[in-house]
């Protein structure tokens, strides 16, 4: 039957398609929505075409060819496919033809047909947890009712679930609203108080519809009123432990009677105390809170709802109503404690007396009555001090007074708290004249965000109670534990990253022991700062001594476990880690004359912090190295100098021969003895002989060694005329073997040392004063020695040195040959003094020809060139 029906449908579709479609393929069905998860069957039919058969058809879903096993061939021209819808996205299902004949390829658009599949989910479950509320508006109930519910399962964008909220009352007058969300409002105009309402939600989409449960309740069942207003609290002096609450009804009783809930708390507390419901379920407008603390600030709130059981919703809490209960005399003792200030000195120690209000202060403590009784053991004197301290509060701690407690003196402190109504019992705390033992093995650790303090009982078992004191960031607090306690958590508020000094004292009948203290952190963090490193002294050439100031615990945010010192030069960074209690380190193995950047990081268990960078440069030399070099060089130089001196000492003759050759004095020459034709000796004074030729004994390169006569004649040397006069005949000589310009040829010849530092003119012919002013026409007479005695013989015979000197001078101006021209003779005369010098080197360097020439020149020959006219 099913296949017959399918065939009939196929026939009908073929007829329809043939009439209205141009495609040769036809697909069906075309449902509006397909349910996700269901099996969908589609059929494709070939219309009036024989070149393709059902075997040529295939199905393509979202560009994916469906497997052949899902196909079902109905006949030769129809094929169907069945598959499970998985995706909830809309997609196309195409029936296509794979026959490659040209006609089909050219008309490919006609050989395809598709089904657009829009997905949807069946509404799986009814909207659940339907809840509705009608709020109070002014003095009546709003006509708008608001409902919420849980969704009905998944949905798609193409087929969303539409929720319809129905509200109907007994008169069959109802209203509804539709939404795609899970919350809606229905307006009823006037709220039908005291009428029964029926409320339900209908969830519907294209694939189905379900209804939620129907809420059938009286209309006031859904009402949520405003909280009670005008809350007032009355405090009565005669009832210090109670407060009377009054309020105004939020809505008239004609709507419904109300029941209430009341809660209260003290200011600063985090928890509320609820008044039992049975006490407030009546239709009341006032309530008396009882068993309260006197002199305490209380905050109260009230809420209400329909008093009928199960009806209505609790309103919001009312505004705070605050009131102090009347005060009563303090009950109990103030918590008295003394904390040590600073370190004990020679005279004792200073203590700070502080206290906390009695647990039941029953009001505001306005002052404390303090009595201090000091008893000195040495002189058995007792000093009594009574004061009334105005309070100076810091939190719940009252700092009373600082008192010195000398050694060997017992101090007893008595304290009474006073409020406006009365005073408390007297608290006592004593400091004995001798320190008593405290607890042992005190340990403090952080546990579950609190500090756990553990200790061991002292050997003496007379313990009344323990006092655990902690000081951190300038704040001090304490708590007292009973005598059997050996471990406790610090109850006060502690801050992380703050160093606390925790001390435990033993109280024996009110007498305090000495403290046992440790430092602890509730939570350690990375340091917020690191010390700045600096150098101790100057850096060495391979090391530096670094120092830093340790971070105080209050700023370290944890126990400094290590300091890591980094030092860097160029790209090379090295690090050294030292313990946290270190404050200096000596860097070694540094390179000399190198700049280092160094910094230090402080580390706790939680992290580290890098300090500022400090730069220093190592020295080039090690200490004493320069001194060593200087001493070495000095010693070397001294040795060299000594060697030179020794050398000079041992070779002084040679040096004298070279530098100060013995020059015969022409004045002492015997020329006058062997020149009988020219009786100069009688006519010329002695000085004229000397003035004609003078021996210049100068040091090497020292122009200042000139004779005074020559110095006097310097101006004359600058005169060319005079200069030429000087050079005539005799000529000059030089210590150097190289030819020198004669003084007479130089314009600067007056300052010989300036022109040729190495030139030494040890011989000069200076015109005597007798020559000055003479005309050139007057022939100047020179006596020429014709002696053949060797020059050195003059030295061997000092008596005849003057004569021989004259001969030597005559030899210096010997002619080189008869064939010389007058100019060449003059030149030769100028060069003669060089040959005259008896330097051995010169002698050695002379060529044999020169020796021969010199030998030939040694004979006395008439002077051909003569003297230049003056």
């Amino acid at each position: 039957m099913e296949s017959a029906g399918q065939m009939l449908m196929l026939a009908a579709l073929m007829l329809t398609a043939h009439a209205g479609s141009q495609n040769y393929l036809l697909t069906f069905p075309h449902p509006k929505f397909v349910r996700v998860g269901s099996n969908f069957t589609a059929t494709c039919v070939i219309i009036n075409r024989t070149e393709v058969t059902a075997d040529d058809l295939y199905w393509n879903l979202s560009e994916t060819i469906l497997p052949r096993e899902h196909y079902s061939k109905i006949n030769n021209s129809a094929i169907s496919v069945t598959f499970t819808v998985t995706s909830d996205k809309p997609e196309w299902l195409f029936c296509l033809c794979r026959n490659p004949s040209p006609n089909i390829v050219l008309n490919q658009g006609l050989y395809m047909h598709g089904i657009y599949l829009q997905k949807g989910y069946a509404v799986q479950q009814p909207p659940g947890n339907l809840s509705c509320v009608a709020l109070q508006e002014n003095t009546y109930i709003s006509g708008t009712i608001t409902c919420e519910w849980r969704d009905s399962g998944p949905q798609t964008e193409q087929d969303p679930i539409i929720y319809t909220l129905h509200v109907r009352d007994m008169t069959s007058q109802g209203n509804y609203t539709t939404t795609t969300k899970t919350k809606a409002q229905v307006s009823l105009g006037t709220y039908p108080n005291h009428m029964n309402l029926e409320i339900w939600v209908e969830a519907k989409n294209s694939l189905g519809m379900v209804e939620s449960e129907h809420l059938k309740e009286e209309a006031n069942w859904f009402v949520k009123t405003n909280p009670p207003s005008d809350i007032s609290v009355i405090s009565e002096k005669s009832f210090p432990t109670s407060l009377l609450l009054n309020w105004t009804l939020p809505i008239d009783k004609s709507y419904f009677r109300l029941m209430y809930r009341i809660r209260f708390t003290t200011e600063g507390a985090n928890t509320w105390t609820d008044v039992p419901q049975e006490d407030t379920s009546q239709d009341i407008q006032s309530f008396r809170l009882q068993n309260l603390q006197p002199g305490t600030k209380y905050i109260s709130q009230v809420s209400c709802k329909n008093a009928r059981r199960g009806h209505g919703r609790w309103s919001d809490w009312s505004n705070n109503a605050t009131k102090w209960t009347p005060e009563a005399p303090p009950r109990g003792k103030p918590d008295l404690w003394m904390t040590i200030l600073g370190s004990p000195n020679a005279n004792g120690q200073n203590v700070q007396i502080a206290c906390k209000d009695p647990v039941h202060s029953n009001g505001r403590i306005t002052m404390f009555s303090l009595m201090i009784k000091a008893h000195r053991v040495t002189n058995a004197s007792t000093q009594l001090e009574n004061t009334t301290e105005m309070i100076s509060r810091s939190g719940d701690i009252t700092v009373l007074k600082q008192v010195p407690i000398p050694d060997h003196q017992s101090t007893q402190v008595f304290l009474t708290a006073i409020n406006s109504v009365g005073q408390s019992e007297k608290a006592f705390l004593g400091v004995p004249e001798r320190e008593r033992p405290s607890v042992e093995d005190l340990r403090v650790s952080s546990q579950d965000g609190r500090l756990l303090v553990e200790w061991r009982l002292p050997r003496s078992s007379e313990v009344s109670e323990f006092v655990v004191e902690w000081v951190g960031r300038g704040q001090m607090d304490w708590q007292k534990e009973n005598k059997s306690t050996t471990r406790t958590h610090i109850t006060g508020p502690l801050e992380p990253f703050v160093c606390y000094r925790v001390s435990v004292y033993v109280l024996r009948s009110g007498w305090s022991s000495k403290a046992t203290s440790v430092e602890a952190f509730l939570k350690e963090g990375a340091p917020s700062e690191a010390p700045s490193v600096s150098l101790l002294g100057v850096p060495g050439h391979d090391g530096a001594h670094l120092v830093w100031t340790q971070i105080p615990p209050e700023r370290s945010r944890g126990f400094i476990s290590t300091y890591t010192i980094y030092y860097r030069t160029g790209d090379a960074t090295r690090a050294v880690t030292v313990l946290g209690n270190s404050s200096s380190y000596k860097l070694t193995s540094l390179s000399p004359d190198t700049t280092y950047d160094t910094w230090i990081t402080a580390s706790t268990i939680a992290g580290s912090y890098k300090g500022s960078t400090h730069s220093f440069t190592t020295q080039k030399y090690a200490p004493g190295e320069i001194e060593g070099i200087v001493v070495g060089v000095s010693l070397g130089f001294l040795f060299f100098f000594l060697m030179i001196v020794l050398l000079c000492f041992y070779k002084k003759d040679v040096i004298r021969e070279n530098f100060w050759p013995r020059i015969p004095d022409p004045g002492e020459s015997t020329i006058k003895n062997w020149s009988p034709d020219y009786s100069l000796k009688a006519d010329l004074p002695r000085e004229s002989c000397v003035s004609g030729i003078s021996v210049l004994d100068v040091d090497v390169c020292d122009g200042r060694s000139l004779f005074d006569e020559e110095k006097a004649g310097l101006p004359l040397k600058k005169d060319k005329f005079l200069s030429e006069e000087h050079s005539s005949g005799i000529g000059g000589s030089s210590c150097m073997s190289s030819p020198r310009q004669s003084v007479s040829d130089s314009d600067e010849g007056g300052d010989m040392a300036d022109t040729t530092a190495s030139t030494v003119q040890y011989s000069s012919v200076v015109a005597s004063s007798g020559y000055k002013g003479q005309t050139p026409a007057q022939p100047t007479l020179f006596s020429r020695s014709e002696s053949t005695q060797p020059l050195l013989d003059c030295e061997e015979n000092p008596d005849t040195s003057a004569q021989e000197g004259s001969r030597q001078s005559q030899r210096c101006s010997r002619p080189t040959g008869n064939n010389l021209s007058p100019q060449g003779a003059a030149l030769r005369e100028e060069l003669q003094p060089l040959d005259f010098c008896s330097l051995p080197e010169d002698a050695e360097n002379n060529t044999p020809a020169e020796h021969q020439s010199a030998a030939s020149a040694s004979s006395y020959m008439p002077q051909l060139g003569g003297y230049r006219p003056q």
């Binding site: 007994m170 005291h194 009428m195």
Partner: protein, 215 residues
């Protein structure tokens, strides 16, 4: 011996029968009580709701009259002292419960057109945000609900007798009036309606005390 045995057998047989009869009797009595309690509870719940709604409308009508007087300007106190014959009589008539309930229902139905007319007149006289209009709307709506509750209550008491709609056709309303007449008319309607509600409340309390307990 046999007789003794027979007696023993009879005794053994009678014991469970007695127990069974006792149980059946107990169930019968209990079911009767349950039915009675159920009917009584139904009567009480329905009547209680009706009574509460009546009190609510009564309170709202009192507030509305105050608001109405405050919104009418000068001489507002005198407005309500004038007699307007066309306004229905607030007295509940009838001898028995059925007649009284029908009378209540009839009176409520009769006042609804008057309240509607007053609302229309005050719409012209007041601002749209006037509390008078809000009050009139609420009182009218609650009055319709009260009439429906009365009807339901009546049906619960007399299920086989349908309640009679007011005879004589639609309620007669006053002809066009001037402003003063409208003010007077409105105040008289509200005042008379308040009296009606007081009477209804009184009758319902009586019914609650008598009818529901007796049932």
């Amino acid at each position: 011996m046999n007789g003794h045995v027979k007696s023993m057998h009879f005794g053994q047989f009678m014991e469970p029968v007695t127990t069974l009869l006792s149980l059946l009797l107990l169930m019968a009595v209990d079911s009767t009580r349950i039915v009675a309690a159920s009917r009584n509870q139904q009567c009480g719940n329905s009547l209680q709701q009706t009574l509460k709604l009546t009190r609510l409308i009564q309170k709202e009508s009192v507030d509305l009259i105050k608001t109405y007087k405050a919104s009418q300007g000068e001489m507002s106190e005198l407005l309500c002292k004038v007699s307007v014959p066309i306004v229905p009589d607030p007295k509940i008539s009838g001898m028995d419960t059925s007649e009284k309930i029908v009378s209540i229902y009839t009176h409520l139905q009769a006042f609804l057109p008057h309240l509607k007319r007053v609302y229309e007149q005050q719409t012209d006289l007041q601002l749209p945000t006037s509390p008078v209009l809000d009050g009139l709307t609420r009182v009218s709506a609650h009055s319709r609900n009260l009439a429906a509750l009365i009807n339901i209550f009546y049906q619960s008491l007399f299920p086989n007798v349908p309640i009679q709609e007011p005879a004589g056709g639609p309620t007669a309303l006053p002809p066009p009036q001037n402003v003063f007449q409208q003010k007077v008319y409105g105040c008289v309607v509200l005042k008379t309606y308040k009296e009606l509600l007081a009477n209804v409340s009184k009758e319902l309390r009586t019914l609650k005390n008598n009818k529901c307990k007796r049932i």
